[in-house]
Symmetry: C2
Subunit: 699 residues, 2 copies
Amino acid sequence: MVNNIVIFTFAGALLALLFALYCAKKVLKFSEGTEQMSKISASIKKGARAYLKRQYSVVSVFFIAMFVILGVMAFLDMLTPFVPFAFISGGLFSGLSGFIGMTIATSSNARTANACREGLDRGLRVAFSAGSVMGFTVVGLGLLDISIWFALLKYVFNLSAPEITAAMLTFGMGASSMALFARVGGGIFTKAADVGADLVGKVEAGIPEDDPRNPAVIADNVGDNVGDVAGMGADLYESYVGSIISCCALGVAAFGGFKAMALPLLLASIGIVCSIIGSFLVHTKENATQKNLLSSLSRGTNFSATAIAVISLPLVNMILGNGITDFSHVGFYFSILAGLLGGVLIGKATEYYTSDSYKPTRKLAGKSETGSATIIIGGLGLGMMSTLLPIIIVAACILVAYFAAGGFKITNADQGLYGIALAAVGMLSTLGITLATDAYGPVADNAGGIAEMAGLPEEVRNRTDALDALGNTTAATGKGFAIGSAALTALALMASYIDKVKEFNPQADLTFDIMNPRVLIGLFIGACLPFVFAALTMESVGKAAQSVVKEVRRQFKEITGLMEGKGEPDYASCVDLCTRASLREMILPTVVAIITPVIVGMILGYQSVVGLLAGATASGFLLAIYMSNAGGAWDNAKKHIEGGNFGGKGSDNHKASVVGNTVGDPFKDTSGPAINILIKLLSMVSIVFAALVVNYSLL
Amino acid sequence: MVNNIVIFTFAGALLALLFALYCAKKVLKFSEGTEQMSKISASIKKGARAYLKRQYSVVSVFFIAMFVILGVMAFLDMLTPFVPFAFISGGLFSGLSGFIGMTIATSSNARTANACREGLDRGLRVAFSAGSVMGFTVVGLGLLDISIWFALLKYVFNLSAPEITAAMLTFGMGASSMALFARVGGGIFTKAADVGADLVGKVEAGIPEDDPRNPAVIADNVGDNVGDVAGMGADLYESYVGSIISCCALGVAAFGGFKAMALPLLLASIGIVCSIIGSFLVHTKENATQKNLLSSLSRGTNFSATAIAVISLPLVNMILGNGITDFSHVGFYFSILAGLLGGVLIGKATEYYTSDSYKPTRKLAGKSETGSATIIIGGLGLGMMSTLLPIIIVAACILVAYFAAGGFKITNADQGLYGIALAAVGMLSTLGITLATDAYGPVADNAGGIAEMAGLPEEVRNRTDALDALGNTTAATGKGFAIGSAALTALALMASYIDKVKEFNPQADLTFDIMNPRVLIGLFIGACLPFVFAALTMESVGKAAQSVVKEVRRQFKEITGLMEGKGEPDYASCVDLCTRASLREMILPTVVAIITPVIVGMILGYQSVVGLLAGATASGFLLAIYMSNAGGAWDNAKKHIEGGNFGGKGSDNHKASVVGNTVGDPFKDTSGPAINILIKLLSMVSIVFAALVVNYSLL
């Protein structure tokens, strides 16, 4: 079985891509509705495409520069010659995942809106199929790329297992860099457009959300696609690939040879099969309620998770042991289970703190009674408090994964770390279906926008709103998986970094005692990085939003008859403005993320780098949860009030909650999710530049 | 010299206390002004006293319980019999520092207001003298207590140096516990009253700040005294004592015997002398401008810092070397210098980010143009960004202090850690005068309140405002010292904890590798603690404020003629409400801080505790700076607008900045400063309960 890994992984990857194609065809059979709807959808698609095109051209400059740097390093024998190519291909495929996801999303929004004219469940089917295209494209491409590189390096170049995993980690760095650009750039675009449209349109001009008279309305909808869809696609591609390759690398370190690489790869393949079967279970009756819808989605994800949990046991026995009944390595199975369960529990904790079905968000909504200051304080407190449960869950997950894998002995560090990496792969093994349930949210959101702009009847808008609300719940679960796996993968990558240091300097002191000032200082600086990164991205959103505000104000003033619906707003100029602003602003945060570990390493040495990675992982995990959950809770507190509680729409309480939501926007859609990528990218960069740091550090 | 340490420290302590007495007498010679002023001042004093009395009675329950627990542990030979008494005495003196500071502050506020009727510089003199009472009481009592314990243990009980430092660390835990109660309780009181008074008085009823018709106005002024004064006194007493005793403990570990204990003690004594001389340099001409005032204050602090920097060199040579010309231990001198310089630089960085003389706060004020949401986002970003410089400064400080002390060899861990502790003592050596310049701020603030309530002419209010504004700058410097020393002291205490573990289990594995899952999990949980702690305290402020809001609304409704100035508001009921609410709310956060390290240790072992302490120190340092600076910047952005910029008082921009300030209040005056104490208390608790954790942990 181990010798045929590549066949299995190729098969899994192709199956996922074929299923994505099947879902795409299903979606495209639906009609886009009226001419106006298809026109609006076309402008959104055009704007999004234009943005991505320019984003890729900006990013390609960075990739070319990195290619040259890595090429020089390879020439100086600090890296293998495959590294620069692996780096490029990682970026390429990460970008491609985002592009395909966005293409199908922009083709599905009008179709979802139109389907909602006929019924809620029909709308769900279109939106969920669109989400499935995204979900299965991401996992399919991820596994395909790993398989291609694996086959190429093993069978064409005859490399050893450690050499293969080394090249693959660079592939991961390419994917992470692209993901960070996509998340940050897209995140700035979507929030700048959103804030700009809201501040001038809703607050100053007093027109409703998604009103076609608002010049920023198309930009706002484009933003949903380039941020929440293309950004998310690139992001999760990176998470998926990162968890698998870091697990392969640690497996090789723990067991040598290809045996331990087979486990994560096959787990991923089987996860795809389970996800596809799970998808077919998502169907519902004609007059479904919201609760029916949610339970039909859960049926799919629960089936997939249970199936992989069952199949993992014989898989572990067969691959690591000597056959299906050899339980000698059963500890690794518990590592996988810990990951699977951990992801679900973090998702539940996220939902508890951010959904208005539970006390925290309802209480937060009530704080609007004493104005915007108290709802802001409440949300910040809620976000901070919400870090506790995920920390405990992730700590328990690490503990179980490590000790179970190490045969409950602390001395088996290699096996223990491999266990942590396996937990991350376990958590993401059913990403195909969890991402499908997550990615359908922005499609439903956009469908709502189109329904409003095309002036469809209110019941249609109510249906898209219902779909959107459901999307918030599934998005919470998705976030749990994304952030939990990020922490575990970051730890696995830290271990890979240490292996790398050993490779370049066999005499290196490989203890990283927390009382060693190098480690300690690294820890402090690392813990600070997510704060600085969040500050930079929030500042960028602010700057970009301010320029949108000015442009929208200008159009309201200069275009005659705009408010009366007689003049035509210049949508394209707002899209263009957001594009330019977000591309300009995405560069600094990303560059900071990439050069900091290299600079710290060059000055203070590799021990500080390990401290830095640990500090960044801990504080990044906390900050990401804090920001995401505070933002999510404010959003849903506003929706709770809009649902008729605490005075309802238009009340002073509602206005206070809008302030909370505006503060939360960059928290949850720009800075928070980008930190997930940041903590992994820091490790990947450290690994790639390890030779430089080990050989040439200053102190 | 080493043999006569106690004489020198007693002398230093008495000198400080005599100087405090001298300053107190100077203040009390001034008149309290009109009958109305003295009546208002009396109500404030009465409220503050009543609060402290009840706080002490609540806290004493905790202290009695801890006394019993520690007594049982001492009985079981886990601790020396001195420990319970040392614990109690630490709490007692910490509380006493707060009490004396508050007594003089409440006796000086009306006097300062009255002095401002005659001139700005006269007002400064009263306020600064009041601040000096506080500053020198804190350092005098701190050094006195250390001297008494030292003399008692050494000469009466004939204990060895390690036994003495062990008892003293418990003394520190008592002080820290008291400080945390005082900071959290006082912080909740002051902000609940402030927010309550503002929300109903200023926003709903539209009456000015400190208007006597506002039923919460006395509570607001009481709050300034119990929070900003009594809380700060207990807090800095704890910082001062903590830094000295942790340095003594590490000195004994590094050198054995009493030699290395002498250095921090004598440094503190000489620092007191330098501070007193510096205080005499604070005088100014009759018609001084704001700039003159600031430079006259700086003259005092700069002189003291320079003097201690110069004297430290021969001191180090004499104590650690063989005489004034023996430069063999000069490295330790650089450790002290690093601390002194680090404190000043962090203060400067704080000032840069929070003063409206610089770009960040001015730009923040400008963000009010697009509403409260953008000024909130801007302030949060500013706070996060402002963590970068202090982290770099503290990292450099650790690096220099450690390596210089260790003779530039990484292997001298004991000496290196002693160097870090010396840096903390160096930073706080001139606390007498820096605290004087810091503590005068709340006095000036209160004086302004009394001027308003007593209807004094506008020019008087302008003068108190000028003093208050100056206080903001000096407070920024003070915060720099408090937080910088907290981080260094926490690290020193971590090292003492490890020594303790070794004492109880000589076979213990004393490596704390960051990749060890125990350490790693501890790190994650520790990093989360400050987030949870901040959330709890912010939530408490919110709850307490809500009850004040209701009470004030009730009085406005039920007391006839209140708004017309005919009815008498019931000030006492608001004070009572704040007292009860803050005492109720202060318990949970403090108890969480005390039991968490014990629980984590009992479950996961001492290695996790070290991870926890490191994580809490790193994330606590960042969070404290983030919250303090965001709050400070919002406060000064509001003041900048009130100074006539961006529309000035009453404009929409001003309203937006008031929202920012309200959010910032619990940030900067409750949660932020309490985190400083938290990170030290965690270490102290761990040290005291080390025997339990080492012998009985679960995993």
